[in-house]
């Protein structure tokens, strides 16, 4: 049973989901039309025509629009796949990561299931054009992985709502799914490492960590991932806005806003992440958010006007400066 905030987040994903659902329905209805035969054409005028319209002679007029397909079986199988997915409703877009299970695996499985719709459309297109079924057609209808999706398919991909325990939120390998309009929204329970999503920051990807649901400022288009860390005391909150379409943009620092940092640096292991690995997330966040000094100023005087910067630089080096100094500086920069 999804939590109330999960439902709220769910609604945020509503637009992409509605579009995808609509495409599923629209496609299944198209297949239904293709499956209609001439014989079925009789009676299409309904009961009103009884006595008034000669249904069978009328259906000859309509016949042109109901071509009989020789591949009805494949079309029917494709439609059944679509109906099965439609029948799942919003569950199609929800992922619950079992305690201790891998996030990547769960996401891959969910998109593999959503991908069945694309596989079904391909099978139907091929069947309709009289192309024989490929060797993998039947397999693809059971699972069709994200890696096989076309650009257009990735553009219509619905967002996923992923419920996961903070200790299990390992983002490694998720970049694979951040393309087109894909959105991965994590509803995180319990404690979390400080910046589990930091590793997913890319120039073209919206990445945000938040304690609450609003406001993400998530753009309408483009890949995105967000984590709602309502119960995680030790989590940072930040937003990375993607660079505009086709822009190389300035450095990531210019689009990354860090709103809050944990009071103290992690000192014990969480799940499979050691304290050090967790501190590395903070360092990575710092590294990405600091304006490169040389490029920005070129003059030593600027540096001296920013008293915290020296410390920050020191903190990001591997020398093991206390993490709380970094935090203090980042916080002073936070809005």
């Amino acid at each position: 049973m999804p939590s109330e905030s999960a439902l709220l987040l769910d609604r945020k994903l509503g637009a992409t989901r509605r579009a995808f659902h609509s495409a599923l329905v629209s496609t299944s209805e198209q297949l239904r039309s293709m499956l209609a035969t001439k014989v079925e054409g009789e009676g299409i005028t309904g009961l009103f025509s009884n006595g008034y319209v000669n249904s069978s002679s009328f259906s000859t007029l309509a016949a042109g629009s109901t071509k009989e397909s020789s591949e009805k079986g494949r079309l029917q199988v494709a439609r059944d796949v679509l109906l099965e997915l439609i029948g799942l409703g919003d569950d199609l877009y929800r992922v619950e990561v079992a305690p201790g299970a891998g996030v990547r695996c769960a996401v891959s499985k969910a998109y593999g299931r959503i991908g069945r719709a694309f596989a079904a459309a391909r099978a139907a297109s091929n069947a309709n054009s009289g192309n024989p079924a490929g060797a993998d057609e039947a397999e693809n209808l059971k699972r069709y992985n994200y890696s096989n999706w076309s650009v257009a398919e990735r553009n219509i991909a619905p967002g996923l709502l992923i419920e996961v325990a903070g200790k299990d939120l390992l983002a490694d390998g998720l970049s694979e799914f951040l393309d087109g309009n894909t959105c991965l929204a994590f509803m995180v329970s319990g404690a979390s490492s400080p910046a589990p999503l930091v590793g997913l920051i890319r120039p073209g990807v919206f990445v945000a960590q938040s304690k609450t649901l609003d406001p993400f400022g998530m753009p309408d288009r483009g890949p995105a991932t967000v984590a709602v860390l309502a119960e995680a005391e030790g989590a940072a909150t930040f937003t990375h806005q993607p660079a505009g379409h086709g822009e190389s943009g300035m450095g990531i620092w210019s689009r990354l806003t860090v709103s809050s940092l944990p009071e103290t640096a992690p000192e014990s292991a969480l799940g499979s992440k050691s304290a050090n690995q967790q501190r590395e997330e903070l360092r990575q966040l710092a590294a990405l958010s600091i304006e490169p000094l040389l490029a920005a100023s070129g003059e030593a005087s600027t540096v001296s006007q920013e008293p915290g910067v020296t410390a920050a630089l020191a903190a990001t080096s591997a020398s093991g400066e206390p993490i709380d100094r970094l935090a203090a500086w980042l916080l002073s920069k936070a809005k």
């Binding site: 509605r18 579009a19 659902h21 609509s22 495409a23 599923l24 329905v25 629209s26 496609t27 299944s28 209805e29 198209q30 239904r32 109906l83 439609i86 719709a117 694309f118 079904a120 459309a121 391909r122 139907a124 297109s125 309709n128 076309s150 650009v151 257009a152 398919e153 553009n155 219509i156 309408d220």
Partner: protein, 315 residues
């Protein structure tokens, strides 16, 4: 909402379009007509934005400018006088996958279709609306239009038109829920293109009044403007429409914040110059076609729901 997975399956979507892919039959406007420039710029826009021709729809009313869709190789709906906007709204309502453009003349939009104009601005559907304003009825041969300058002699008002013209930008800005209002001119293609791009990318109804030369009936009105670039006032702003070429070419420029509705309205009263650029933009305006989106249902689901309706009415 109508995207079919059949359309996008496989490699079918990996296409690149050139301006030629949008080219229809040769246009038959008078030589020197501003519509040619707008048509060419439109093709350029379609290419830049890589809009699939089969997903692009141009809707028009009646008049010289309304022949526009015929000269493009996209889908087109050449409707009736003044009624392009309801047709376009109808098209967009259940087909958000279509890129909808509306092309109207000044008689079409501001006279016979004025009611639809007001309401389309309020509905704010996601589409681009071009008002090709040549200040005259062209196709029916030089009758006064609502934008004809006062005292201008026409066939219906041979002693000169009686009233001051209405200002299409001012009217549009007066309608609740206006979301993108710009003015440009057909003889400044760079500005025209920049405006159309900004409009196409805007979510909601973008209304562009394009000052359009008519070489046949109102050449005297526009000739001076074309020849006197100093009459133009280019509106600049970080959130506005900027084009480096235009900024270089035109002497008169001013900062105007397009989020400032009062300032935008005040600009419509400017008599010293003709302001070109983005008057107003509001990205938060409600978008009717998006508000009206609802869930799709399969035939099986609809039948089950209709049975429930029957149950309500069963005795």
């Amino acid at each position: 909402m109508d995207t079919s997975l059949l359309d996008i399956s496989g490699a079918a979507d990996e296409r690149t379009f050139t301006a030629n892919d949008y080219k229809g039959p040769t246009a038959r406007w008078c030589p020197g007509c501003g519509d040619f420039s707008i048509l060419a710029t439109t093709r350029r826009l379609l290419e830049l934005e890589q809009l699939a021709p089969e997903k692009t729809l141009f809707v028009s009313g009646i008049g010289c400018s309304s022949r526009f869709p015929h000269y493009l190789k996209t889908y087109g709906f050449h409707g009736i006088h003044g009624r392009a906007l309801p047709l376009a709204l109808g098209a967009k309502l259940r087909r958000p996958d279509l890129h909808v453009f509306v092309v109207m003349g000044d008689g079409d939009c501001t006279s016979i279709g004025a009611g639809h104009w007001i309401h389309a601005i309020r509905y704010n559907p996601n589409m681009t609306v071009l008002l090709l304003d040549n200040n005259i009825y062209g196709l029916t041969k030089k009758q006064t239009s609502p934008t004809t300058p006062v005292n201008y002699k026409t066939n219906t008002q041979p002693k000169g038109s009686y009233l001051n013209p209405l200002h299409p930008i001012s009217v549009t800005l007066g309608v609740a829920n206006a979301s993108f209002v710009a003015q440009t001119a057909d003889w400044i293609p760079a500005h025209l293109l920049a405006t159309m791009r900004a409009a196409q990318q805007h979510k909601g109804l973008s209304f562009i009044r394009i000052l359009q030369r008519c070489p046949k009936w109102t050449i005297d009105i526009f000739d001076a403007k074309v020849k006197t670039p100093d009459e133009m006032m280019i509106l600049n702003h970080a959130n506005g429409i900027t084009d480096p070429k235009v900024q270089k070419m035109y002497k008169n420029q001013m900062e105007h914040d397009p989020s400032d509705l009062d300032a935008a309205r005040a600009l419509t009263g400017m008599t010293s110059h003709i302001p070109l650029g983005l008057f107003y933009k509001n990205e938060d305006a409600a978008i009717y076609n998006e508000l009206r989106m609802n869930k799709s249902f399969t035939t099986e689901e609809k039948m089950a729901n209709l049975e429930k309706e029957f149950d309500r009415y069963a005795v």
